[in-house]
Symmetry: C2
Subunit: 182 residues, 2 copies
């Protein structure tokens, strides 16, 4: 089946700090038109970093949309769509946790909610860590936690860790570790 939709018109309804929102008219495969709401985001990078003791670095952050503190792997948004994902990942890991990694492995991309958002999150695993000073953003408040990897895995499987990038990274890493690929 031909599934392709075409952009007929676009209108920005919001241009903001982290996101923009546009509402487009799209041509559907059946010749009809429909509204398409698109949240634009420059994209993000996250890093599942393991210590030599097989602990994973997590950050506890208050996430305003949920009014909850949640556990996530270190992550941040790209300065622009031109910033290389790995450079962004190295910067966010260092700023949020103070860690510098000797080795990075790319674990793939994540489309968090493809129905209405264009964000792409690049996922890395990292090891051979050394630690220096943290340098969080001015409006960023977080606690850094080192958690045994198997405990983080259990908290993903039990449903306690809900963040999409963290679940995906921890689960991929488990399978890669078990098969000797990390």
């Amino acid at each position: 089946m031909n599934l392709t939709e075409k952009q007929l018109a676009k209108k920005y309804v919001y241009n903001g700090k982290i996101i923009n929102l546009r509402v487009d008219d799209a041509l559907l495969p059946n010749g009809k038109t429909a509204l398409r709401e698109v949240v634009e985001h420059p994209g993000g990078v996250c890093v599942a970093a393991l210590t030599d003791q097989d602990e994973i670095l997590l950050v506890k952050q208050f996430r305003y949309p949920y009014m909850e503190e949640i556990l996530e792997i270190p992550a941040g948004k790209r300065d622009s769509k031109e910033e290389a994902p790995l450079e962004c990942g190295k910067r966010e890991l260092r700023e949020e946790t103070g860690a510098v990694a000797g080795e990075f492995v790319f674990l793939g991309e994540l489309y968090p909610t493809p129905g209405y958002c264009d964000e792409v999150i690049y996922i890395y695993a990292a090891k051979n860590l050394t630690f220096g000073e943290t340098d969080p953003d001015d409006d960023e408040f977080l606690d850094v936690i080192k958690m045994p990897f198997n405990e983080a895995l259990e908290r993903v499987l039990s449903g306690e860790i809900k963040d999409a990038k963290t679940q995906t990274a921890v689960l991929k890493l488990k399978i890669l570790k078990d098969s000797g690929r990390f």
Copy 2:
């Protein structure tokens, strides 16, 4: 560290079909204020459904924000925040694939992009399938694909399958299957 932020003011800048967008003033832990952009969404439900031949049901859909056809497990949004997630999952599975499942297992919640969006996606696994007619929404065009589970897993690990809920569900299911928990 106290990480809590408080809502000081909220203003809707868009009320739409699938999402709303508000921009709030928030009180930070250090006493300063900051803008917080919040995409509001009623929440979604997805179902990783396995046939008796260990195939997973996938749908190929054109996702307008990426201008790409992507593979995902069947999913949809709740009619409202009051709709029970499991009922929504049963409806979406039937409408998109024609399948009715004899058994559902809850795999947890997913926060797709917690920095600026309040969507919660409920993840289910399902088995003991029987098939009837599909009944897609008017502006929904999709192909249903039955793929061997191990092939879907490899496509997640290789980075070809990028959708967050699909990656999380397939990876969790792999670990639960391997340990005899599904």
